[in-house]
Symmetry: C2
Subunit: 184 residues, 2 copies
């Protein structure tokens, strides 16, 4: 046996996985039911909303979300077909200049923020004591630091992107943060 886990360790792993799945499902359901968007879509919309000019290139969006580009691209395809975002029609050069938020997308995300925040609080934050929060934060950072270097893709080093007051890569990128000024 190269490696084994104690029953307690297995149980911790399983309980944690179970909790995570229930939580994500519940949060997702809330978003879907009340606002017609998924958690992933919410992340994209929020990120776009706070971008300068409500417009980003796919790569920057992916970087900002710490997601793979193909994931973003697929999601954008679905979102575009539903009218939440629009891919800038290839400029004169044939090069796409970015993707932008539509009016519908803007309205959707703005109406969703509070409800989503409420669910995040209800299911994630509420049952969390300050010590537990600190523990989870510390552990999450450990995990990210340990795993992220392994995969070349989708590393979230917020370089340019000026607009985001975020310190670090987010997964869900679910934070509304500032909110893009009318932005030009």
């Amino acid at each position: 046996m190269a490696e084994t886990l104690t029953p307690e360790e297995w149980e911790l792993w399983d309980t944690w996985m179970h909790a995570h799945r229930l939580l994500v499902r519940e949060v997702d359901r809330g978003l879907q039911r009340d606002f017609g968007i998924s958690k992933a879509e919410f992340s994209v919309l929020v990120t776009l909303r706070q971008a300068p000019g409500r417009r980003l290139r796919v790569g920057d969006l992916a970087e900002s979300l710490a997601w793979e580009k193909s994931r973003v691209s697929h999601l954008l395809t679905r979102m575009e077909s539903r009218g939440f975002v629009e891919r800038a029609e290839s400029g004169a050069s044939g090069r796409r200049t970015g993707i932008g938020l539509t009016e519908k997308g803007r309205r959707a995300v703005e109406s969703a923020i509070d409800g989503h925040a409420g669910n995040v609080r209800r299911y994630f934050l509420d049952p969390l004591t300050p010590e537990q929060a600190a523990a989870i934060r510390a552990w999450s950072e450990q995990v990210v630091d340990r795993i992220e270097p392994l995969c070349g893709d989708a590393v979230a080093k917020p370089s340019s992107l000026g607009a985001a007051p975020r310190p670090e890569g987010w997964e869900g990128a679910s934070g509304p943060a500032g909110g893009a000024q009318p932005a030009g």
Copy 2:
């Protein structure tokens, strides 16, 4: 504003989601790369392996895993087509009597256990101090208790099922625990 989260709260949520996704992906990749099975498949195989007679009905399997039946059914379809499990051909009555582990399935899960355990330790357990582990455990149980009552389906109340020394529902159901005796 009905609800808002502070930037710190959003960041905690995002960091945690990000960490979780990286972790799951890495663990899944390891299983897939080294043993040709997914994390979900591993859970099914382990649960089956420790069942009496290496055989369970779909519903009991779902209950034991705290998964939805349809999820289990879809997964079983994929696994059956690859020869890891077999659906008992409808008995005389036309009623399916359960699904069982094939020899291939047994070999797959037994060879995978150590490697998987190693990855769980490396990515999940290692960066966890005992205090953090306790915090995560307590919080996970809170979350499960809070959310599970909401959804009627897939509630893991280990009732019969005699064989499992598990105290509680597992998500990944990734614990090898005892290991079914030859059980013939």
